[in-house]
């Protein structure tokens, strides 16, 4: 049995080592380090010895990345843009206090809106294309099934002709 480790950090949050995150997200440790390298994951905190310590939100982020990638076919670069846009949101929420640069904050929000709208548009295009494909596949399935019926009837007729070989084809 491997020794169970309950890594607890300075805060009250339960922190996870890379191995556990890898297991829970079904990606390899290599992938997690790679995402960090590429800026998809922010550099996590570390233990004194240098071991990475991830939070639950990191786990969720990895899961989102994976969904965007495998299910929807975005590249990591595109996904980085998306998660960066979300970072903007968080940053804005965090710096809700400094009323100082109000107009600057406006610029940021406007930018975030622009990015989000672009993403939304992209998604809409994909949904449209996919529903179109879906429809065509349904049509095709209907065609196939009708063919199958026809074949089955022909097979039945054939069998009949064989057992009672009177009628000429």
């Amino acid at each position: 049995m491997p020794p169970k480790r309950q890594a607890a950090a300075a805060s009250d949050e339960a922190y996870l080592q890379i191995g556990e995150v890898a297991e829970r997200t079904s990606v390899t440790q290599r992938t997690l380090r790679f995402y960090e390298e590429k800026g998809l994951l922010k550099p996590p905190s570390r233990m004194d010895g240098g071991f990475r310590l991830y939070s639950e939100s990191d786990v969720q982020r990895v899961e989102r990345i994976k969904r965007l990638q495998s299910l929807l076919g975005f590249t990591l670069a595109e996904i980085k843009d998306m998660v960066d846009a979300e970072e903007v949101k968080m940053q804005l929420r965090a710096q809700y206090r400094p009323e100082a640069a109000l107009s600057q904050k406006k610029v940021q929000v406007l930018k975030a809106i622009e990015v989000t709208e672009r993403q939304h548009d992209l998604i809409r295009q994909k949904v449209a294309a996919l529903t179109d494909m879906q429809f065509k596949l349904e049509e095709r399935l209907a065609t196939f099934r009708s063919w199958l019926d026809q074949i089955d009837e022909q097979l039945k007729a054939e069998a009949k002709a064989k057992s009672k070989p009177k009628i000429k084809v």
Copy 2:
């Protein structure tokens, strides 16, 4: 000016050389040869000298491939499966006459149905995930816009306070 070529082949159909297909589909000639190599495009007919001659349906096929790839993130291997499934359809339609191997035909149709159903399921999953994302993006946009409104109001209040600097913040 480059010399305009109107390549006409044995049939009545207007055939296209690789350059024109590339231009019209916005892919490179290399890509077209690569797709042929990988079985995504059937080897086209050739001129006496060996130049490839594509048909209009080839153009459409390339366009479908590109849509499946860039918009929906399928790999070329997956796309090959799909177009192969379509080939089955065409083949069945073509060999509609040889009543000989009827049960064999049935097997083919069943296989085609299976493949198509898998594809259909995959698409449904993707649509579901995408519409979910779409919804979340819309929520986020609403949030951003309300923030923007708040900021604008604050800015207005600020301007007022500046022109009439009586009230203390």
